[in-house]
């Protein structure tokens, strides 16, 4: 049985309410943190835990917190990034919907550690029903004395505000989120200065993902060192994976990052395999922005080793033969899925969500979508594939924010691993309209060169 830290109590009846959450041991981590620990000690525990940010980039959270500037007389802010808009990712929604108090508890501990008296939850507009859940949780926590003035007699004041976005993917980028929170157009800012120096209203700000902040609760409860023992290598603790696509049991799973990808897809404890006896063709292991992998490279690395569900193993081989953990949006494609169509869907998404601020992303994403649409509808040319490669190469790394990279990577990976499927679409335009390329050789064992 896998270790569950976040979702342990998710199925307790009525856990959404304060009374049940408290009865089940809720807010004890908060009491421990505020009464027995100093803010520095909390940051130290977090550093010891080695937890990496759960939003996608995987930056060590303890390190990020230690960067925050502490000028005299300037308020600091903590912002919870609940603008979970990455296609395939829905773990934060689950957490907020079922365990709102877990997030609130984590938020108060984090606010205490960072010295934030006004903390914000920026939630995406499409999660229309969740702000009510969160606000109810905030109200109940406040009634119980865990929020407001002089919390637990420590002299620490904290308020949490929920701010709804208006439905833009780009507002999940931390500086665009800050702009939007300030009431402006959600355009990413040019860094530096980083939010840790100048964030919301030019004040030092930390922006963290929902899951990251919720994980503060188990870290404080069990201590950083104990937390670091879970998992493997630099992938410590547990991670929520939102599995979707062609799976028997899609949903949100908590894993301790020691299981293999194969076990995650096929075991009954997790996704339970692929429906109707179909075979696995490809998978995006970490949300739509990360590179897609064919079945053979997903289950085994290029060196022939088993691939595990953790930060290091998933990125083994770099972009040439690996992918990324990302935000944990695990999208599985079976043999009936068309990678060209799938790439077009993603390209359309990024074109729609580009903020239009910098030229490579604004113009390049639209261009890629049009070319992919041509290929998909049987009007493609062989030169289009190289053109796509050239466009994505010139977007990647040349933009203000990572959306340009996120738009370029899926296209690059699809061409890198599924080039023959693209070519088949171009050479057989009529056939491509009525049937799919199928599994082809994408699950064949990889030839591993043996060195004597």
């Amino acid at each position: 049985m896998a270790i569950k830290l976040l979702l342990e109590k998710a199925h307790v009846q009525g856990i959404r309410t304060y009374e049940v959450y408290r009865r089940e041991g809720g807010y004890t981590a908060l009491e421990k943190a505020l009464k027995e620990m100093s803010p520095e000690a909390i940051v130290e525990e977090l550093k010891k835990s080695g937890m990496r940010g759960r939003g996608g980039a995987g930056f060590p959270t303890g390190m990020k917190w230690s960067f925050i500037a502490k000028p005299e007389g300037v308020p600091r802010h903590l912002v919870c990034n609940a603008d979970e808009s990455e296609p395939g990712t829905f773990k934060d929604r689950y957490l907020m919907e079922f365990l709102p108090h877990l997030l609130i508890e984590g938020l108060i501990i984090s606010s205490f550690a960072l010295g934030s008296n006004a903390t914000y939850i920026y939630i995406r507009g499409e999660y229309a029903w969740i702000p009510d859940i969160l606000e109810e949780a905030i109200r109940d926590a406040k009634a119980a004395g865990f929020l407001g003035k002089n919390i637990l007699g420590t002299g620490f004041d904290c308020e949490i505000y929920v701010q709804r976005g208006a439905g833009a993917y780009i507002c999940g980028e931390e500086t665009a989120l800050i702009e939007s929170l300030e009431g402006k157009r959600g355009n990413p800012r040019i860094k530096p200065p980083f939010p840790a120096i100048k964030g919301v209203w030019d004040r030092p700000t930390v922006v963290n993902n929902v899951e990251t902040l919720a994980a503060l609760v188990p870290i404080i409860k069990m201590g950083g060192e104990e937390y670091a023992k879970i998992g493997i290598g630099r992938s410590t603790g547990t991670k929520l994976i939102s599995a979707c696509g062609n799976l028997n049991k899609p949903g949100v799973y908590e894993i301790d990052m020691t299981i293999s990808v194969e076990e995650f897809i096929y075991s009954d404890e997790y996704c339970g395999g692929i429906p109707n006896g179909k075979r696995l063709k490809a998978c995006i292991p970490g949300g739509s922005s990360v590179p897609i992998l064919p079945a053979n490279l997903l289950l085994k690395t290029a060196k022939g080793e088993t691939r595990y569900m953790n930060y290091e193993s998933l990125s083994d081989g770099g972009f040439a033969s690996g992918s990324m953990m990302g935000s944990g949006g695990f999208i599985v494609l079976d043999e009936d899925q068309c990678v060209v169509k799938h790439t077009l869907t993603l390209a359309r998404f990024y074109r729609h969500e580009s903020c239009g601020q910098c030229s490579p992303c604004r113009e390049g994403t639209g261009w890629m979508e049009k070319i992919l649409k041509n290929i998909e509808t049987g009007k493609g040319k062989m030169s289009d594939i190289d053109l796509l490669w050239d466009i994505q190469r010139r977007i990647e790394g040349n933009t203000i924010c990572p959306l340009g990279d996120a738009a370029a990577w899926p296209v690059a990976a699809a061409i890198r691993h599924f080039r023959d499927e693209f070519e088949w679409h171009i050479t057989n335009p009529q056939e491509a309209q009525i049937r799919n390329f199928g599994l082809a050789h994408y699950a064949d064992p990889i030839h591993v060169p043996v060195t004597a």
């Binding site: 969500e353 490579p360 113009e363 790394g397 040349n398």
Partner: protein
């Protein structure tokens, strides 16, 4: 103790000392010539501008004396400040040349390329940029994005189809006028500069958006289709204006004043903002005190044949290439008596004749 700390920065093998806080772009502009990266959205007089067009990307091959690691990505030189001992590669970096050609291609994707009927032609930054950094032809085979033309009040026309989304006009309205009524609507490749339901831009200083626009998206309605800029002769002039500095450039043909603009420096940026009255309503020579012809870069099409005060660009290639001069296949002056550098063609009255060169 020195009041201002000086940082040593090397751009394309040329070292210069600049005050701390200077951006790479501004340091490069101090060196001048080809070393200065092109800038489509950055405007030194507008706070917060820059970083968007990505044409000024440069490679930082050495971060600073303290931290010599190179920066992992190309950086926007207009928004990156110099560090002591920083080494920057602009035209000496193949990565930069390639990325810049890519940006030019992206910028031209949806640009209508209607230069023959565009009033900005001849003083258009996008023309210069694509001429200097772009490639021939495009690989784009789709319908270009189109918008309707809008009249923003009596003086300004907005032709969004030509816009490259540099945000300069938005910053200008924000920082120069009291009440900004235009901004960016929508997002991505369908974003547009717009007012709220075609509301007119009505403000004493709003005419400056025409000057800051790098392309022909915002044009002067009192000048539209009146003349090509290279047939006009720019003259510096001033008047006593209660609202602005009154320092302008008149664009004449004969005695007639075709248009009035602010004075632009060698980077295409205005020196002083001017008010609408000076720009749109004072169109007689008698309104102005003429100071003399405006200096225009010899490379500009506007300078064709008009000028005594031509500015010869400094040769940067030699400095960049460690002192090696560009390889000349043929020095025209050793082969021919015509084209003598000491003879100023513009001083010759009427067409040049062989007699003009027979000084022997």
């Amino acid at each position: 103790m020195s009041e201002q700390q000086l940082f040593k920065v090397t751009i394309d093998n040329i070292t210069i000392e600049v005050p701390a806080g200077t951006s790479i772009l501004e340091a490069a502009r101090k060196i001048g010539g080809e070393v200065a990266p092109p800038a489509m959205c950055f405007y030194s007089k507008l706070k917060g501008s820059g970083g968007k067009c990505r044409t000024c990307l440069v490679e930082v091959s050495k971060g600073s004396e303290k931290d010599p690691r190179p920066m992992p990505k190309l950086v926007a030189s207009c928004r990156t400040t110099v560090m002591d001992g920083m080494e920057v590669k602009n035209i000496t970096s193949p990565k930069v040349i390639d990325a810049r050609a890519g940006v030019v291609e992206f910028l031209l994707l949806n640009h209508p390329l209607d230069c023959p009927i565009c009033d900005q032609a001849g003083e258009c930054h996008l023309q210069d940029l694509s001429y200097e950094h772009g490639k021939e032809g495009t690989r784009y085979e789709f319908q270009r994005r189109k918008f309707k033309k809008y009249d923003l009040g009596p003086y300004i026309q907005l032709h969004m189809t030509r816009c490259i989304m540099c945000f300069r006009c938005v910053y200008t309205a924000d920082q120069l006028t009291e009440n900004r009524v235009h901004g960016v609507l929508d997002r991505g490749d369908h974003a547009e500069i717009a007012t709220f339901i075609e509301k007119s831009l009505d403000n004493d200083f709003i005419g400056n958006v025409i000057d800051v626009c790098p392309v022909g998206a915002l044009t002067d309605k009192t000048f539209r289709f009146k003349n090509r800029v290279w047939f006009l002769k720019p003259m510096d002039a001033h008047r006593d204006c209660p609202k602005c500095s009154g320092k302008v450039t008149l664009w004449n043909r004969g005695e007639e004043v075709f248009r009035v603009t602010a004075r632009k420096d060698e980077w295409g940026e205005v020196e002083d903002w001017i008010c609408n009255e000076c720009r749109f309503e004072k169109k007689h020579s008698s309104d102005w005190v003429i100071e003399g012809p405006r200096e225009i870069s010899r490379h500009s099409v506007i300078s064709q044949g008009h000028y005594v005060h031509t500015v010869t660009p400094t040769e940067t290639f030699k400095a960049v290439n460690d002192g090696r001069a560009p390889h000349l296949l043929l020095d025209i002056h050793t082969e021919s008596d015509v084209n003598k550098p000491e003879i100023e063609l513009s001083l010759i009255n009427g067409p040049a004749h062989s007699n003009n060169f027979n000084s022997k």
